[in-house]
């Protein structure tokens, strides 16, 4: 039969093809290293992760994936000293400003940076003080909504956004009413705040601001240095005070640096292949600290399956991969792979008590009354309830079983990574159902204990770590009194957002990852009445924060003496345990997994990138 001939032909082709494949085996020009023919190429480094950058524009980038890439292409004026979070070394500046060396004025409001000479951009242009000045002015004036620029706008101008500054200058309430002259004045105001003075660049702050150097330091993508000439040639802001609105708050994809990069960093961009979530970069030959050891780096952020990443690491297709905490045991003991765990990170996770729940048609609060079938809107404004909840969470089981020991029980809102700023002998919560019972009995004059309550905890899909946290809390509370009913419900982020915003969620499970290494970056969002997290606690919650915490938080930021700051933050830390504004769940740790042949890895708790590729090399010994 003819069909048979065809079949044999196909089989033969497949066999021959497979034979040739196996014979040609691995790609050309590859050495074999380690066991089982694992591929080794000292010139290429492949990092495989999950979840790509949103943008490469430093004025807009505010997620780790984006900062991670920006970190490789650009540099800042300063860097953190290795192993420290409050000492700096110069980078594109030649000196670290301090009051002692006169580069910070006595009133703490003027910072001067001498700019390094002979630094080359990727296109060969030399770095000038004008580039530095332009970089900050351009990013500040662009100030896209949802971006990180508030961090610089706040110390420099004392407002949150550049639109607010324009309104302030024009003396109006809405940005639409700001006239032409005031817009120009706003541009001028920004340009006056950052000035070139010979070989120096000078910043004029509106108030003293102790974390200012942290905000400028390496790892802060918003403070990285751009190339003025190249920027203007590529359609960015032209450097004039009157034209800035044309480039202000552009959609992400219309920004000049959305997909391009031109910096002084150790790597220059070859391509961002957005359809494959892959960044290809090449060592910058004229890099001022000498070219990087690894010539080509590929960051492939498109592998969502952990199994696939794991296999790639095992086979040497990847030099390093991203490992979620729950998967780290699977890499334990893998041949040729180094797994480093328990790296302290500036990141903590909490459950926010909503002190004034929006109870209108709210499916999460049962009846909305204290009748045993629901909770009243101000349920969590009673400190006894909050403390009872804090005692009902099994911290140790959670840390041991869910995050496999990669976390610690919090001392308050400031995480362990910043333990220099608070007393590590201070109080902490523990899982104590007797204490929880005691506080539940006190709450609402004993009514809660008698009638019971019912509420729903909501977690965001697909974050199952938070789901388990909810269930552990549920388990704790329900075992105190059979009249206490807790339900746990998962919700897509898009469905959750409007409910969270309307204040319907009784508790909001959320984490905070530091923008810069200073306790202010934690206490402000967590307990200041204008902070991000207090926004989820209702009017009552904000009033509570204003009465209890605002003064302390403000004192911390306006104090420049380190010892006094530590005292203030220790007090805040203690008070967040005592008053329990939130249920602090855990301080998260981090981990890395790479091939043994990766040398030179140093952990940096504030670095947005998993690896500083410049510090790495690959060798088989």
């Amino acid at each position: 039969m003819k069909g048979k001939v065809w079949l044999w032909l196909v089989i033969a082709l497949v066999v021959i093809g497979a034979g040739v494949l196996i014979w040609t085996g691995q790609a050309p020009k590859q050495e074999t290293g380690g066991a089982q023919g694992v591929k080794f190429d000292p010139n290429i480094f492949v990092f495989v992760g999950s979840g790509d950058a949103e943008t490469l524009d430093p004025s807009k980038a505010y997620d780790t994936a984006s900062s991670e890439i920006i970190f490789q292409y650009y540099e800042n004026l300063l860097a953190y000293k290795e192993g420290s979070l409050d000492e700096f070394v110069p980078m594109l500046a030649t000196e670290v400003p301090s009051v002692a060396n006169g580069l910070i004025s006595a009133d703490g409001k003027t910072y001067t940076f001498p700019i390094r000479k002979g630094v080359k951009f990727h296109n060969g242009a030399e770095l000038t003080p004008e580039d530095v000045e332009y970089s900050f002015e351009r990013n500040i004036l662009a100030d896209p909504t949802g971006g990180p620029m508030w961090m610089l706008i706040e110390p420099l101008f004392g407002v949150a956004t550049i639109k607010d500054l324009a309104c302030q200058i024009a003396g109006v309430d809405s940005f639409d009413q700001v006239n032409e002259a005031a817009l120009r004045a706003t541009g001028q105001r920004v340009m006056d705040a950052i000035e070139v003075d010979g070989d120096n660049v000078v910043f004029h702050l509106s108030t003293p601001y102790p974390p200012f150097l942290s905000i400028l330091a390496r790892n802060s993508s918003w403070s990285c240095i751009l190339n003025k000439e190249w920027m203007i040639a590529n359609g960015a802001w032209d450097g004039k005070a009157e034209t800035w609105t044309k480039w202000h708050d552009l959609p992400t994809e219309e920004q000049a640096l959305f997909e391009k990069a031109m910096g002084t960093g150790p790597y220059k961009q070859i391509e961002w292949d957005r359809s494959n979530s892959r960044h290809t970069m090449e060592a910058h030959a004229d890099y001022w600290r000498g070219p990087a050891a690894i010539k080509t780096v590929i960051v492939n952020n498109g592998v969502t399956e952990f199994n696939t990443r794991k296999l790639m690491l095992q086979k040497g297709e990847a030099d390093a991969i991203y490992v979620p905490v729950e998967n780290s045991p699977q890499l334990e003991g893998m041949e040729g792979v180094t797994l480093i765990r328990n790296l302290p990170r500036l990141n903590n996770v909490c459950a926010i008590f909503n002190q004034e729940i929006n109870a209108v048609d709210n499916e999460f609060v049962g009846s909305g009354k204290l009748d045993g079938n629901g909770i009243p809107p101000h349920f969590f404004s009673d400190i006894n309830i909050r403390k009872a909840f804090c005692y009902a969470f099994d911290y140790d089981s959670f840390i041991e079983q869910v995050v496999l020991g990669e976390a610690s029980v919090p001392y308050g809102v400031i995480p362990m990574g910043l333990s220099d700023f608070f007393d590590t002998n201070g109080p902490r919560y523990s899982y104590d159902l007797e204490k929880a019972e005691e506080y539940f009995k006190k709450a609402f004059g004993g009514e809660v204990w008698e009638k019971g309550f019912k509420l729903t905890l909501v977690w965001n899909i697909p974050n199952t770590t938070r789901k388990t946290a909810c269930e552990i809390l549920e388990h704790g509370i329900e075992s105190i009194n059979p009249k206490f009913q807790v339900e746990v419900q998962g919700m897509e982020w898009a469905t959750m957002l409007p409910r969270r915003r309307e204040g319907r969620l009784p508790m909001v499970f959320i984490g905070w990852l530091a923008d810069y290494a200073d306790p202010h970056n934690f206490v402000y969002p967590y307990v200041h009445s204008k902070g991000d997290f207090m926004a989820f606690t209702g009017e009552l919650g904000r009033k509570f924060a204003a009465a209890e915490f605002d003064e302390l938080v403000n004192a911390g930021i306006n104090e420049s003496d380190q010892a006094k700051r530590i005292a203030i933050y220790s007090e805040i830390q203690k008070k967040t345990i005592e008053l329990a504004p939130h249920l602090m769940l855990y301080d998260a740790y981090d981990r890395r997994a790479h091939r043994d042949w990766v040398k030179g890895f140093v952990f940096d708790p504030i670095c947005p990138a998993n690896y500083d590729f410049y510090a790495l090399s690959k060798s088989l010994d």
Binding site: P329, Q330, G333, E335, Q401, V402, I461, P462, E471, G490
Partner: protein
């Protein structure tokens, strides 16, 4: 009755039937086989701890605990009910819609056919899995939100098949003859056309009860299926996905997370497919063994 006897005679379909009956028994006896905790939703699989790493079978938990310490035994027992519910509901509605629209379109032809077939085209122009994913993304995960798009985007092949078969049969002499002697439309459809064109649809339908369960599990794999912790085999399999490769040097370390739910699902699908396959041979009077 004759059909049933022949199904019993055929070894392949007998195997399928026995398997299926086992599943039916498990589904009915679920409250006794795996008694749920009083007062809680029986479809919520109990957790025996908080750790993600699966625990191997022990005397207390004979099939082990999968990712998140969910009891595999409990999940499989109650998951049988879920599988039947989802499969039967989806298939019934699909076949019903398909048969009604397909036979109307083919029999009456003309403008009505044109309209119905373009309507079918619009639905067919929705890529199946993408359509389901879009729907579930908009309305949120959950079994009901999975079943609705599976029905809405799954009836068209039946309609087309029925229509195709009827178009072919319509030209056959006995139908032309029946029409010529003035038999009513309803009678022709029910007495002549449906029995002679329904059989491929029946195979398809029986085959699909199994693949519906697979479709739902695929959605669970993408994180769009049943809510986490709900007794559903697909979800139990997706719990296993991170553990399938075990550890280096001990690839089979977590075999129980894959094997038990996998076996349940494959056997369930297999039982329907075996019956479906034999059914086709039996239902068609023209095929003699």
């Amino acid at each position: 009755m004759n059909i049933f006897k022949r199904l019993l005679k055929n070894r392949i379909s007998l195997l399928g039937l026995i398997l299926l009956l086992c599943f039916v028994f498990v589904a009915i006896a679920a409250p006794w086989l795996a008694p749920p905790k009083e007062g809680s939703d029986p479809y919520r699989i109990p957790r025996r701890g908080w750790s993600l790493e699966p625990t191997p079978p022990t005397a207390q938990y004979p099939l082990g605990l999968t990712q998140g310490q969910y009891d595999i035994y409990y999940g499989l027992i109650w998951g049988t009910r879920t599988a039947f519910r989802v499969g039967i509901i989806v298939i019934t509605f699909r076949a019903l819609i398909g048969i009604i629209l397909g036979s109307i379109a083919a029999y009456y032809g003309g403008l009505l056919d044109e309209i119905l077939m373009r309507f079918t085209d619009i639905f067919m122009s929705f890529p199946y899995l993408i359509g389901v994913v879009v729907f579930v993304s908009i309305f949120g995960p959950g079994l009901n939100n999975v079943m609705i798009p599976l029905i809405a985007l799954g009836w068209m092949p039946y309609a087309r098949m029925i229509r195709g078969n009827i178009l072919a049969i319509k030209q056959e002499e006995y139908v032309l003859a029946a029409r010529a002697i003035g038999v009513s439309d309803f009678k022709i459809i029910t007495r002549h056309i449906l029995p002679n064109s329904i059989f491929p649809v029946l195979i398809q339908a029986s085959m699909q009860i199994g693949s519906i369960v697979i479709s739902v599990s695929a959605l669970s794999f993408l994180g769009l299926g049943a809510p986490e912790g709900y007794a559903d085999w697909g979800q139990m399999l997706s719990f296993a996905r991170n553990w399938m490769l075990g550890e280096q040097g001990n690839v089979l370390k977590y075999w129980f997370t894959v094997v038990y739910p996998g076996l349940a699902m494959v056997l369930f699908v297999l039982s329907w497919n075996l019956i479906g396959d034999a059914f086709r041979d039996i239902m068609d009077p023209r095929i003699q063994a």
